[in-house]
Every structure is written in structure tokens, then in C-alpha cells.
């Protein structure tokens, strides 16, 4: 897709059937899995609106799931209580674009939650309020009637609650087999371990996948849109707490635990009615490591096939991220020392977080 102003104006005018003036085009530079472009425009001289274009990078997505699955997720979630950006349309490759894309409306707000990453006690109340806000949002996701809305058209669903973990492991193995460019025998060992140790789930739910800080849109302390649905699944809601970034911060004051994963889970259960144990969350932590290894493999393949087009962050994902996740999986199976908390926290270090 050509994101020059003249091309976008011609495309949008044709698509919307009215003259469109494009005033600003900006690529979101932080995401690696898919490309995101923000396009500000006026329709027929009307009010300014911001559209979000999503497409795979030229070297292919880091994600094993296809772009049309992401579009499908937004389309179906728009029919639920889950706060998401309204999706507008899908565009096939053809006259206007060399790769398919979809367009959704931008939601006003920011992924950044000021003062959330600090350990300053003055912000404890604020951080806990944000954490609770996120728990309530997850409970809405888990309450979605996925069967009647047909989410299982894209997402493999287990037939029984006790099969959630095994279903996820089997799905991950199929994804690994489809993307791997080299042999990673530890993955096979991990799949076997996951099948042997899969805990039963109390319920089969729609799960978001990666969630939390940096993924969702907030405005004035309220979560106004859940974003980045490419890792969604159907299974044990405990998975979403293993895939969560930062939103159950450990807060200890004067030797007392004020907040953390256990308290966040208890709050979540009080809202959703679904019990989630730390042990189940830990099981899905291994699943998450496996998912990151699959992404690392996809990155390595993209880098090999298209070194000139691949994002440099794909090189990082395929090296350090892949290695640390393999270490984490081995540790879960009792085959080595786990990665330190610092090693995992470093994954999230960005030039912005250093400035904060």
C-alpha cells in the first residue's frame, strides 16, 4: 500500500464515494507484529476523523495468525460489551494495494498510563485502580458468548473445559510446525510436558492473548479500547493473566502486601465469578514462552528470506527473546535455572520507558 497523501486521497475518495482530504499520515513505529498507519482526513469538508490502517509488513507478520483473523476479531467484538475500536472495512490486494489491509476508527486516548510503572507510594491508589479497571475489562472478554458469535471459526476451541490446556498446546505445535525454519527440539519436549500437566479450566472462554500495559487504550483513567487481538484464543481465562503485561503490579508497603497477582485474581473472580489460580497462570506462562518461541522462529525465517525488508527488531526477537523463552520452558520442566526477573523485565525496556 502506498501511504502517500495523493494515493490515500484517491483511494479514500473512491472507497467512501465522496471527496476526502488527507491532512496527516503517520506510521506507528513501535509495533513489530504488524504495521499500523494513522490517517487523519476530512470527508466532504466535514469534521476531522482519524482512521487506522493495519497490514502485514512486507517481510510477513511476526504473528502466526493471519491478518483477516484480526479483522474478524474486531468485527465480532463490535457486537459485544467489550470496548474495541469500531472496524470499518477490509481491502483485498488489487488495484489499490499490493497487500491486504483493514481499516478501523481510531479511539481517542493513549496506550501510556502516566505514573503506572513507578514504585512511588503516592501512586499506589492510582495503579490499583488501573489494575482493577483492566480486570473488569478482561471479565467482559471472558463473558463473551464465543460460540454463538462464531469465534471458533478462526480460533480452535476445546470441546471440554478440561481440554483447554491440551488444545492450546496442540494449536501451538501446529503453528510451530508451520513456521519453523530450523529444528528446536525443546519445543517438542515442552509440548509433551504441557499435555501431561494441563490443568482443567472451570470454563471455556474467549481469551485476549497479550494484554495489559502498552496494549490497551486509556482515557482519563478509563480503559476505552482493548487492542491487539492477534493472539486471541478460546480456552482457560487463566491464560490472559499469563499474557498480561504489568497490570497486576506487586506493591508491598511496611511489610504488608497491598496489591499483586493474587489480589488482582481475587478481585477478578469477584467481578467475573470465574476462579483463577496462580498455578494455572504459571502453566499458561509456559504456553506464552512457547508462543514467543514460535514468533522468534517466524522472525528468523523472515530475516533469512527477506533481510532487506525485515524490521531489525525481528532480529532481536529471534535471538534474545527466543533464547530466554527456551530457558524459561526448560526451567518449568525442571531442566535448568529460570530466567531472572530482570531478564524478563528487560524485554519491555524501550527508549520511551527509559526516558519516563
Amino acid at each position: 500500500m502506498d501511504f502517500s497523501v495523493p494515493h490515500l486521497q484517491a483511494y479514500l475518495s473512491t472507497r467512501l464515494g465522496a471527496p476526502v482530504e488527507v491532512t496527516k499520515v503517520e506510521r506507528f513505529g513501535r509495533g513489530v507484529s504488524r504495521m499500523t498507519w494513522f490517517v487523519t482526513c476530512h470527508r466532504n469538508g466535514g469534521e476531522s476523523e482519524q482512521l487506522v490502517f493495519r497490514l502485514d509488513p512486507p517481510s510477513g507478520s511476526v504473528e502466526p495468525s493471519p491478518l483477516d483473523q484480526e479483522y474478524f476479531m474486531y468485527e465480532r467484538l463490535g457486537q459485544t460489551e467489550v470496548p474495541v475500536a469500531p472496524v470499518l472495512w477490509w481491502e483485498h490486494a488489487g488495484r489499490w494495494t499490493d497487500r491486504p489491509f483493514y481499516v478501523r476508527r481510531a479511539v481517542e486516548g493513549s496506550w501510556n498510563v502516566p505514573d503506572f510503572l513507578t514504585d512511588d507510594p503516592r501512586h499506589d491508589e492510582w495503579r490499583i485502580a488501573i489494575s482493577k479497571e483492566h480486570m473488569r475489562a478482561l471479565s467482559k472478554v471472558h463473558a463473551v458468548d464465543w460460540k454463538s458469535l462464531g469465534f471458533d471459526r478462526y480460533l480452535p476451541a476445546p470441546s471440554r473445559p478440561e481440554d483447554c490446556g491440551i488444545n492450546y498446546a496442540n494449536t501451538a505445535l501446529a503453528q510451530y510446525d508451520s513456521v519453523r525454519g530450523q529444528a528446536v527440539p525443546v519445543v517438542l519436549e515442552a509440548i509433551e510436558w504441557l499435555r501431561d500437566n494441563a490443568p482443567p479450566s472451570p470454563r471455556i472462554c474467549l481469551c485476549k492473548g497479550t494484554n495489559g500495559y502498552g496494549e490497551e487504550i486509556f482515557r482519563d483513567g478509563k480503559l476505552v479500547a482493548l487492542s491487539d487481538w492477534e493472539e486471541a484464543s478460546i480456552g482457560d481465562p487463566a491464560a490472559d493473566f499469563a499474557f498480561m503485561q504489568y497490570f497486576a503490579p506487586q506493591i508491598d508497603r511496611d511489610g504488608q502486601n497491598v496489591w499483586g497477582l493474587e489480589k488482582a485474581l481475587a478481585y477478578y473472580t469477584s467481578v467475573s465469578g470465574i476462579p483463577v489460580t496462580v498455578e494455572r497462570v504459571q502453566f499458561y506462562g509456559v504456553i506464552r514462552a512457547l508462543r514467543l518461541i514460535i514468533m522468534a522462529e517466524k522472525c528468523a525465517t523472515a530475516l533469512h528470506d527477506n533481510p532487506a525488508l525485515a524490521d531489525v527488531r525481528m532480529a532481536w526477537t529471534s535471538t534474545e527473546v527466543g533464547h530466554v523463552c527456551r530457558q524459561g520452558m526448560l526451567a518449568a520442566m525442571g531442566l535448568g535455572a529460570p530466567p531472572t526477573a530482570q531478564m524478563l523485565a528487560d524485554f519491555h525496556l524501550s527508549v520511551e520507558s527509559q526516558v519516563q
Binding site: R27, G29, R30, V32, Q182, A183, V184, P185, V186, L188, E189, I191, E192, V312, R313, A315, W316, T319, E320, H323, V324, R326, Q327, L330, M333, L335, G336, Q342, M343, D346, F347, L349, S350, V351, E352, S353, Q354
Partner: protein, 167 residues
């Protein structure tokens, strides 16, 4: 031979980024890309330093492991998996690529052979678990997996840990 050698050049590139490029970048996206580029230069530097010794240790270890796997598969009559292991051992032995990348290719063949055999061993666990050789072989494979990760760490740790923002 032209001096400086690759390690010296890479050291110089990283130092130049640190001293003259990164501090002057104001655009967050550009700074992010340059920051990751710095990490990847350090990674290649670390590969150049530590990977030759790691490969030299892995080739005989993995060859020995595959021969053990081969013996087991032959004994239990798993002919298809046995064929895969034989093919991997043969490919690794006849690979005529030179130098470090040639070694990498030979190890890749062996890992692929282990991967196929490992999958068969897991799939037939119910059938073969009573065989004392099965548990021993699975244990040896697990030891190799742990060892391989520790070898990787020798390259990854000096490249990334404690080196600040990744992106």
C-alpha cells in the same frame, strides 16, 4: 588479509553508535531502530567470539547422541524414524561447506535428525516407556537440550544483558 579484523570493526561500530550517533537522535522511532541495531551488532560480535567453540563442542556431542538414538530406534524396529536419523547423519558427514557456516550446516542437519527422532520417541511413549533404554535416552536428550541452552547463553548474555533498552 586486511586488518582490522571483524571483531575490531564491530567493536568500533558499537562505540561509534554510543559516542556519536545515539545521543544525537531525537526521533523516538529512529532512536529505537538504532538502539536495536546496536544490540544486534553486539550479538554478532558475541557470535564471532563464542560460537566457534560452542559448535566445536556440539558437533561430536550431537553426533554421539544421534548414534544412541539410532541404536534405540533400530532395536525397537522404528524403521521410518531410523531412516530419518541415518539421512541426517549422512548429510552432516558429507556436507562439504567450509568454515564456520559449514559447521553450522552440519549441526543443522543433525538437529533436524534429532527433532524427527524426538517426535517419534514422544509419540510412542506409551509403547516404549517400559523399555529401560527409553527413559535413559529421553534423559540424555534432555541433558543435551539443557546444555545447548547454556551454550546459547554464552553468546546471548554478553550481547544483551545489562545493555539497556532493546527497542
Amino acid at each position: 588479509m586486511i586488518n582490522p579484523r571483524p571483531i575490531d570493526v564491530l567493536e568500533n561500530l558499537v562505540a561509534t553508535l554510543d559516542a556519536s550517533v545515539l545521543p544525537r537522535l531525537k526521533d523516538a522511532d529512529v532512536l529505537s531502530a538504532a538502539t536495536t541495531t546496536r544490540h544486534m551488532l553486539r550479538y554478532v560480535l558475541s557470535q564471532l567470539r563464542y560460537e566457534p567453540a560452542s559448535f566445536a563442542a556440539e558437533l561430536p556431542r550431537l553426533t554421539g547422541l544421534l548414534e544412541q538414538v539410532r541404536n534405540f530406534l533400530e532395536r525397537v524396529g522404528a524403521s521410518e524414524a531410523l531412516h530419518g536419523v541415518d539421512a541426517a547423519l549422512a548429510s552432516a558427514a558429507v556436507s562439504n561447506a567450509d568454515g564456520h557456516e559449514g559447521l553450522a550446516t552440519r549441526i543443522a542437519h543433525l538437529r533436524e535428525g534429532l527433532h524427527g527422532a524426538h517426535r517419534t520417541l514422544i509419540e510412542h511413549r506409551g509403547e516404549w516407556a517400559a523399555d529401560p533404554g527409553y527413559a535413559e535416552l529421553r534423559g540424555t536428550i534432555r541433558e543435551y537440550l539443557s546444555w545447548q541452552n547454556l551454550e546459547e547463553a554464552k553468546i546471548v548474555a554478553p550481547a544483551f544483558y545489562g545493555q539497556g533498552a532493546r527497542r
